[in-house]
Amino acid sequence: MRNTFNEQLERLHVELIQMGATCEDAISAAAEALLKNDEALSRAAEEAERELDRQEREVENLCLKLLLQQQPVARDLREISAALKMISDLERIGDQAADIAELTRFVRLPDGQGALHIADMARAVIGMVTDSVDSFVRHDLELARAVCAADDRVDELFDKVKRELVALIAADAASGEQGLELMMVAKYLERIGDHATNVAEWVEYSITGIHPSNN
């Protein structure tokens, strides 16, 4: 009985790793598509998003099955409930990555400074997603906390990009539409950063039993 439970718990862990990896694929494909303007990559991001939806349902089923059939307690219960919360964040990251990928078809990054910081932002966000998944995989509390801290940097970059886009539009009214699209991309990236923070917070909860927002 316990053995089945442990096996299922391990399977949950593996599926979550896979989901995290798909999520990383989606966001990095979307960012690459944005930076290189590559149609194939944006399709890959959308493909990854569909895969994420499927994985979310699968993990959800597994979690509910574990909760109902095994009635876990203490740490196991925390891990499963954290997993249930995490997958919705991961799925949202996938959605936003797909949104960015879609936008890249209409957006061309200007060679000015605006482009520079959007690229920085994308890199920072990818780092956050990777670290949050890593912290889950390794049960690494320090890394999870580092992800939460990194969100401030992304927010800072978002403000910077915003100012740059305002300047861009003010300088050249014709590029207004481009500017707005880029603004959307920046916003999506910022949201992805928030979701990565959420994931890291749930990792912290599953390790310590205390959700950081309670402090």
């Binding site: 790793i17 896979q18 990896a21 694929d25 995989v137 390794r138």
Partner: protein, 553 residues
């Protein structure tokens, strides 16, 4: 076992006790019955004598009321009874004891008495007048006697049973104790019970066999671990659920994992790159898979093969190879091929074009020397290029067949300076050689090639009016040659790449040369075991230092 022995002993004891008890009761009962009957006979005889003498008065007078006494006339009529009214009693002629007494003089019987309402013993005696005197005694009196006699026996038996209980426990324990005392892990030579010795012997031999096998397995495992640990290739064995069953440290290192793998951990926790995941998935689906994982600074190849067991996939074996160098070499080779074709084509195109113009007679006779000079120059460049390539490929193949000998570096440098004097004068570059005569071990041809190429570059990439200074010195670590120029310098990002084949900082080819010079220096130095270092400052010049190994006497 103890319980079973205890129970068996107890059952036997109980059976013995019960049967002896029954026997004693039976014997006592018979004995007492005989005695009661004898008593009856005696008292009847006594009463009979009284009756003979005194008649019925004896019976009616002081007769004790212990037992029932009946006097029956010869025709069966009851004359007297001390318990009943004789008139109420019927004719007793049909009574067994009565008839027996009439016939034989005395008779006895045991039967149910309607008068006394219980089983009764009768004794009858014929008197001289033909009447019969009969006494009766209730049979229960026998049982009372038996019961009285049996009481101590019963107590004794109970005591015996208790003792048996205790003894059975003791004995059972004592029997089993030596069996329990056998150390099954390491049974001794002598068996406690002879009957057990084959069993103990078997256990002993099996123990030895198991120990041997365990030792064997451990040894084999250690050998396997030692082999896999020393492999530079990463090896991972995973089961269907992607759990890591076995791994070596190279695998952890190549996958960039921190710390050892925990029991039951998924291999995907080590690396979840898309290519790696595909490999794991494919191999667990029963297909071989090969993927190249590229990260910014290294390149790994993953080979995954399924492990089949009875037609089903039981797991997979993953081999991770570090192919960074191989990929780099492949890239260099591809670049080299492309570069060689390009470099060879450029002068040939020029020669071809010039020759075509000459052939068509479109050139004024006065211009022919100029065009011919063109062809000559390009052809020379081509030959220089081919020569350089040949030198390089010789170095690649392990160097020329020339002998190693002691070379005087100072003399070699002087020779190189003589060769380059004309070119230096043309570029207005001042060449200076300082130092002393220092011996070094090497192949003269290669040493000359290295020095020539360094100086050639130093002159070619110099400013007019600049200088090239070569110093030959002897240091404790061995001979050292320094070539310092005041040329254009090498940008920082190009410092690694200048030693690559056909790499030019200036892509316009304006400075001439084949682009192979420093490559020859690098390969030649590597062949001779000479260290090459490069320092450079943009616009101020570069310094190449050759550190020769110490000449052992």
């Amino acid at each position: 076992m103890t319980k079973r022995i205890f129970r068996s002993i107890l059952t036997v004891t109980l059976a013995v006790l019960v049967s002896s008890f029954v026997l004693i009761v039976g014997v006592l009962h018979g004995y007492f019955q005989d005695r009661v009957a004898a008593e009856l006979a005696r008292s009847t005889a006594y009463i009979a004598r009284g009756v003979e003498h005194e008649g019925i008065a004896y019976l009616q007078s002081e007769f004790p009321d212990e037992s029932r006494v009946t006097w029956i006339a010869a025709d069966g009529t009851v004359l007297f009874d001390n318990r009943e009214e004789p008139a109420d009693m019927g004719n007793h002629a049909d009574r067994e004891e009565f008839r027996e007494a009439l016939a034989l003089g005395k008779g006895s019987a045991a039967r149910y008495s309607s008068t006394l309402s219980q089983r009764t013993l009768y004794y009858a005696l014929r008197l001289t007048d033909g009447s019969v005197l009969r006494t009766a005694s209730a049979q229960y009196s026998v049982w009372i006697l038996v019961l009285q006699a049996i009481q101590p026996v019963a107590f004794m038996m109970l005591a015996a049973f208790c003792m048996a209980l205790w003894l059975a426990g003791r004995v059972a324990q004592q029997l089993v104790e030596p069996i329990n005392a056998i150390d099954l892990g390491n049974p001794g030579e002598e068996a406690v019970y002879e009957e057990l010795s084959p069993l103990v012997g078997k256990i002993r031999s099996q123990n030895r066999q198991i120990q041997r096998q365990v030792l064997d397995l451990k040894q084999r495992r250690e050998e396997f671990a030692a082999i896999t640990e020393n492999m530079s290739e990463g090896l991972l064995v995973v089961d269907q659920e992607t759990r890591v069953l076995s791994y070596n440290s190279a695998a952890l290192h190549l996958l960039g994992a921190r710390g050892p793998v925990e029991e039951g951990q998924s291999v995907l926790a080590l690396d979840r790159e898309a290519g790696f995941r595909r490999c794991v998935e494919e191999s667990l689906a029963g297909r071989r898979c090969e993927e190249l994982l590229e990260r910014s600074d290294d390149c790994r190849r993953v080979l995954a093969s399924p492990v089949m067991e009875e037609g089903a996939v039981a797991g997979a074996v993953l081999i991770v190879l570090d192919v960074t160098e191989k990929e780099q070499r492949d890239r260099l080779r591809r670049e080299f091929t492309a570069n060689v074709s390009h470099e060879l084509k450029t002068p040939l195109t020029s020669i071809l074009g010039t020759a075509e113009i000459l052939e068509n007679g479109m050139v004024k006779p006065a211009d022919i020397p100029h065009f011919a000079g063109n062809i000559h120059r390009e052809a020379q460049r081509l030959i220089g290029l081919v020569n350089d390539i040949i030198k390089l490929s010789r170095l690649d193949e392990g160097g020329p067949t020339a002998q190693w000998e002691t070379v005087d570096l100072y003399a070699q440098a002087q020779a190189v300076f003589r060769q380059l004097a004309a070119a230096a004068e043309k570029k207005q570059v001042d060449m200076r050689l300082t130092g002393e005569s220092v011996p070094a071990r090497g192949v003269p041809q290669i040493v000359e090639e290295i020095l020539y190429n360094l100086c050639d570059n130093a002159v070619a990439y110099n400013h007019p009016g600049g200088s090239v200074a070569m110093t030959v010195a002897d240091t404790p670590a061995g001979a050292r040659v320094t070539v310092r120029d005041t040329g254009i310098g090498i940008p920082r990002e190009a410092r690694e790449r200048v030693f690559e084949r056909f790499y030019r900082v200036d892509k316009s080819h304006s400075s001439g040369g084949t682009g192979l010079g420093l490559s020859i220096v690098k390969h030649g130095a590597a062949y001779l075991g000479v260290g090459v270092t490069l320092e450079s400052e943009m616009g101020k010049g570069s310094t190449f230092t050759l550190q020769f190994p110490k000449v052992s006497e």
